[in-house]
């Protein structure tokens, strides 16, 4: 075969396969929404998944948020003091966390902690014929397995992002006030005046909800679509982290540009 023809054919195959996967993921997303009624009726399934994806992620979220907040406090102080406005450190920390770092870093950690667990679990359920067994019992795996995990992820993410921002602010406070010596009153009052509930807090929550939906559906799709072999599940788990991270960063830019223009 002509080498140029071969290269073009490879590119074509790659593009077609990606479009195909995007279509399959969208189909799974729509089916999940259709079957969601059943998972809301069996709320205990969703609560169990919220425990596994949300509650079990709290430790990594809290520890990361504390360090991110402390670094923000340090970096912010050294830059702001050059302009004589080190009292604004509280605003800087709060805005950075609420608008960007809270939702984005939480989503990246979520993809690594909960997303991979979801993909591996569903991939292994497929490999050990548990999904087929469920199908043969006339029970839809989408209603029983996929939908509760989807809603658990979508609900957990905004809560985790809120916890991240809250703990991050505390980390920033710890560095700025007791250690560096910024005025306690100035730290909180500047934050109180300059952080807008609708523009900063609500927009941050909207972002984390969108990231939650994206990360969870990617993790679910990768597991559901994984070839039922050890190698297939391992590749699917890697793809979950890579695709979720890129999706979060891409979506963050799109959402930020929309939010800034209003």
């Amino acid at each position: 075969m002509n080498p140029i023809f071969k290269i073009l054919s490879n590119i074509g195959n790659q593009v077609t396969s990606r479009i195909w996967r995007l279509g399959s993921a969208t189909r799974l997303f729509l089916l999940t929404l259709i079957y969601s009624g059943e998972s809301f009726r069996r709320i205990h399934l969703m609560i169990r998944e919220i425990y596994f994806t949300g509650v079990m992620s709290i430790i990594i979220i809290v520890v990361s948020a504390f360090f991110v907040g402390m670094v923000l406090g340090l970096q912010g102080y050294y830059t702001l003091q050059k302009y004589g406005s080190s009292e604004s450190i509280g605003v800087l920390v709060a805005l950075a966390l609420l608008r960007e770092l809270g939702p984005v870093v939480t989503a990246l950690l979520f993809a690594g902690r909960a997303g991979t667990a979801i993909t591996a679990e569903i991939g292994l359920m497929k490999a050990t014929e548990q999904l087929s067994a469920m199908e043969m019992m006339a029970i839809s795996p989408i209603a029983r397995i996929i939908a509760p995990r989807f809603w658990a992820g979508a609900i957990s993410m905004p809560i985790l992002a809120s916890i991240f921002s809250m703990v991050g602010v505390m980390g920033g406070y710890l560095v700025a006030v007791p250690i560096i010596g910024v005025d306690h009153g100035a730290f909180w009052s500047q934050m109180n005046v300059n952080v807008d509930f609708k523009f900063d807090v609500i927009n941050g929550l909207i972002k984390s909800l969108v990231f939650g939906i994206a990360c969870t559906i990617i993790a679910l799709y990768e597991g559901y679509d994984a070839p039922p072999t050890a190698e297939g599940v391992s590749r699917a788990t890697t793809r979950t982290v890579v695709t979720s991270s890129l999706a979060v960063l891409g979506l963050d830019f799109i959402l930020t540009s929309f939010m800034m223009s209003y």
Binding site: Q130, M137, I139
Partner: protein
């Protein structure tokens, strides 16, 4: 009207892409009987069970379950047919996050509104039938291969199905577990008045309890008959399979160019 054959396969062809697994296969599975489907590994035996369960669609021909053409049913129709079926998967396919008790209770909780006290009684009865009532508190990951297969069997019969399908029920089992499963297949079939379809390549076991046997080779039914008829068969394939001869109509060597050509051809 009740059909004489609960499952019928007529002129069925199936394959993945250009590779045809089954070419114009026809089989019948009479009510109340134990029928075995035998053949070498990779000949598409398990796929026949998947076709009966409506998990894949035939390329030509049809599978009829209880008078209904499986691939023409919508999702709801297929689910209604599957409620009449119980399937034992090759490695059990137990839900690893559930206990033995919850695995057997799973289909009951999903499909019925029975009170928990009645579900408990029924689950213990099913587990007692497979001899594992005492293991109901164990997690499915704590079971041996043979025990897992028996729990999966209790789960497959949880809703008293009309058809019980077994996918390689003896694979990887020790002789005692094998004998237990062998006995259970026949006993449960007769006690429940069900119809059993067993996919296996274990000659001795299948010949000991099956009422009728189909041999599948090269995508076709190579031979069929009662175990007695088949054990006397002069057909070369049946003879090779039943006596476990390494070469015959099923060749020892995978299709390849000549040895000389392979050795001397520059890489």
């Amino acid at each position: 009207m009740t059909q004489k054959n609960i499952v019928e396969i007529k002129n069925l062809s199936f394959g993945y892409g250009n590779l045809m697994l089954h070419k114009d296969i026809s089989m019948v599975f009479p009510r109340g009987k134990v029928t075995a489907i035998m053949g070498g590994s990779g000949c598409g035996k398990t796929t026949i069970l998947r076709l009966i369960g409506g998990q894949v669609k035939p390329k030509a021909g049809q599978v009829t379950v209880d008078g209904k053409i499986v691939h023409k049913q919508d999702r709801q129709g297929i689910y209604e047919l599957r409620r009449k079926m119980g399937m034992l998967f090759q490695h059990g396919a137990l839900f690893t996050d559930l206990s033995v008790f919850d695995n057997v209770a799973f289909p009951m909780r999903e499909h019925t509104k029975l009170p928990e006290s009645m579900i408990r009684d029924l689950v213990l009865m099913k587990l007692n039938a497979v001899g594992l009532r005492g293991a109901h508190k164990l997690m499915s990951t704590e079971l041996s291969g043979g025990m897992a297969r028996r729990v999966a069997l209790a789960r497959a019969i949880a809703l008293d199905p009309d058809i019980i399908m077994y996918d390689e029920p003896f694979a990887g089992l020790d002789p005692i577990s094998m004998a237990v499963i062998c006995d259970l297949i026949r006993t449960l079939n007769d006690a429940l008045g069900a119809t059993s379809i067993i996919v296996t390549h274990d000659v001795e076991e299948a010949f000991s309890f099956a009422d009728y046997i189909y041999f599948v080779a090269d995508g076709k039914v190579a031979a069929e008959g009662t175990p007695k008829e088949l054990s006397k068969s002069k057909l070369p394939f049946v003879h090779q399979f039943v006596h476990g001869e390494k070469d015959g109509p099923v060749p020892f060597h995978y299709k390849a160019p000549s040895y000389k050509k392979d050795i001397y051809e520059p890489v």
